[in-house]
Symmetry: C2
């Protein structure tokens, strides 16, 4: 029997919604979760507004095994993620002694003032545990099933590398791709028939358009390798049959 | 007085959530809406599942001036957007006579069979109006305040170009960036003070990390050009003051 572990992601940041910054974290998280056998089921991008963050966290943490957030954990006034997560969980947000000490030592060693702004990065919901940040010290944190990480891609990726080994993972969703030189209109009927005959697979059809011509990437997904291969072979045979000059 | 027009986006597709396809439409829509004075307030990426699409459409269409969707309007079995939107609006999904005729003529002219799969692309919620598709004919559609477009970026962009001139737009959110050679920890305090002194602006601080060093992009946003310039000048002066060797 296969074991399904699900996840959602919340990207926090006005700069993504205004277009000024182009998100690079969604695709990375999707790739990493797929690789370890966790199904990413939903992503929300929300602004730097407490009510919106609280609503998204509470809507998603009860529905999915894990929630991952990116953005808003820095030292400036627009970094309101820690307070918002605390509010979502109904706990205070306060200076974490271990994070405070870690940051104090780091800035002291660098000869920089441990300013009030920098102290903000030690704040987290009471009861949260750290996610180590090997890039720039200030930790992310985990509370309940919610993992709160930085928005800067290199830091997010390093934090995620620290979180992933701690998670429960499911039976991996396997996939096999069949490249199809025909447009979706030609293969749509027979492909639908193959999907119906193989209900334990998810067959996706992704139209590509380049140089005035359509082609299609067909992707079969399943958790069982034999189920996957049987359906993939039928898709491959269908593409070959329809690609012969006579059938076209 | 400024006039605020808001929007949300729904990206429909398992392939984005699995990481197989990297979304290119969110950033484009964000840029285009910002350019015409519509505030993108939320984005959701949902799987190819009717219940999820219906829930997202109904949650967002009542909250925002406009909703834009991408993906799931092709001819294959996994293209369930038209049916899902119809269900969200409580209307039937049926073959649209004008879309049917348009597609029939196009395939006839190309010497291709007007297959049942291709006919699917003429289906839309009853009462919807077309969004022209200059790239590959099959139209998107608008029903109520929801604009339903293709997921293939070149087609999405062409459809959006047709939709944007039909929309009500608000007073544009203007922005000005100040590049700051200092990390957020150094400027966080004084920047927060400037934000407090200028409540009609939104001041964002975006940490960048490259070659082992932090720098920061500071962005001031406001709808009034004079309000924007006053706050921008203060941010610029703050950065210059803190960047002098003495202050560092």
């Amino acid at each position: 029997m296969s074991d399904v572990v699900t996840a959602a992601m919340i990207v926090i940041g006005d700069e993504i919604l205004s277009g000024r910054t182009k998100d690079k974290n969604i695709g990375h998280l999707a790739d990493m979760l797929t690789a370890v056998g966790i199904d990413l089921k939903e992503v929300r991008i929300v602004p730097d507004e407490e009510d919106e963050i609280v609503a998204a966290v509470n809507a998603l943490r009860s529905r999915y095994t894990y929630v991952f957030t990116t953005g808003g954990i820095g030292p400036t006034h627009d970094d309101i993620t820690a307070d918002s997560i605390a509010k979502a969980f109904g706990v205070p947000c306060d200076y974490d002694p271990a994070a405070y000490k870690l940051l104090q030592e780091t800035y002291s060693a660098r000869g920089l003032e441990f300013s009030e702004a920098r102290m903000r990065m030690a704040r987290m919901p009471v009861g949260a545990t750290h996610i180590d940040n090997p890039v720039s010290t200030a930790p992310g944190f985990t509370i309940g099933n919610v993992h709160v990480m930085a928005g800067v891609p290199s830091i997010f990726q390093a934090m995620l590398d620290n979180v992933l080994p701690t998670l429960k993972t499911g039976t991996k969703m396997l996939s096999a791709a069949v490249s199809c030189p025909l447009g979706e209109g030609t293969i749509g009927g027979p492909l639908g028939d193959i999907q119906k005959a193989h209900p334990d697979t998810i067959i996706g059809s992704y139209p590509k358009y380049a140089e005035g011509k359509f082609w299609t990437e067909l992707v079969v997904r399943a958790r069982d390798p034999q189920v996957l291969e049987t359906a993939r072979a039928e898709v491959q045979a269908m593409v070959e049959r329809l690609s012969t000059p006579v059938a076209r």
